[in-house]
Subunit: 202 residues, 2 copies
Amino acid sequence: MRVLVPFDATDPKTRLASVLSKAERDAFARRMLADVVSVIRRVGGDPEIVATAPIDADAPVTVDERSLDEAVNERLDESDSPLAVVMADLALVTPDALESLFESDDEIVLAPGRGGGTNAFVARHPDFRVDYHGASIRDHRAIAAEVGASLTEVDSYRLATDVDEPDDLAEVLLHGEGEAATWLREQGFELSIEDGRVGVQR
Amino acid sequence: MRVLVPFDATDPKTRLASVLSKAERDAFARRMLADVVSVIRRVGGDPEIVATAPIDADAPVTVDERSLDEAVNERLDESDSPLAVVMADLALVTPDALESLFESDDEIVLAPGRGGGTNAFVARHPDFRVDYHGASIRDHRAIAAEVGASLTEVDSYRLATDVDEPDDLAEVLLHGEGEAATWLREQGFELSIEDGRVGVQR
């Protein structure tokens, strides 16, 4: 299956700016991307990075400077075979987790993200389109219903956990199995526990 | 299988105090408990509430005023058959999610919670004990290894999402299928989206 991986190559992971420099955010985002691409390949998918600027990566890269919605919807429009989209910041992803997304036969398979996002999906219906603004999982359910597509949602913590904020780094340290987790440890990040709450320190 | 559900009947969900009164927190916590107990029964488990004070509930209640660790470890100590513990604030729990916990045959089956917690587990090894302080999932992995127990972790967003803070209420509105979600809506809570972030408003 063709699997698009949208990637912000220009200014990635801005909400990590309090704990990582611009160069570090670039490096960390590329490690997460590499992990996602690697897992897609391991479960038999064909990854295709859709980036906002040219990057070196272990997969074909198409540069598309438009919004995420426009870039994804044009490809949904042009595709007449199943198409998947997996976010590039799923640092907890494993082959088992991604297989749970790919193994369903439903026309639309959604993997919700924390905070109402849609972290990954498979579309096998010609009329499905995305709308990533706001609580996109709710909108994507509604769009699937509008076009009359059968719908499944995948219950995976690994797919639900995108890495946006400093607290999310704790999840990477606790559960990540790829290059991104290794990189974080190499930069000196470790778990910290204050007042019973788990975070990270460096 | 015997399934313990620890419940703070005295002052539950204190981190929701900014959005719910004490009486509302009591009511909401009991709705979540009822949802958890109901799903345990639907998948064939025998729920047993371990509460800090007497409560009315649709399951046997034992009052135990000790710490969570002491209350659970004494029962692990005394049990010679498989024992499960499921947190009372898993408002997103469904039969499928809980079955994923129960269907593994490993001696220890852990369901991680966001922020390093352990939201549910099954123990089939005589020497496993709990330590819920700090990043308990890490400690429970270590304890399982120390006692030589086989270990599986369940990848479920529904089991990983315990409801502690106001932002977690958005998850209940987006994904909850039980009484707790209904109750929240009846109290006037709905999703709010500000600067692309999803929360709740009343």
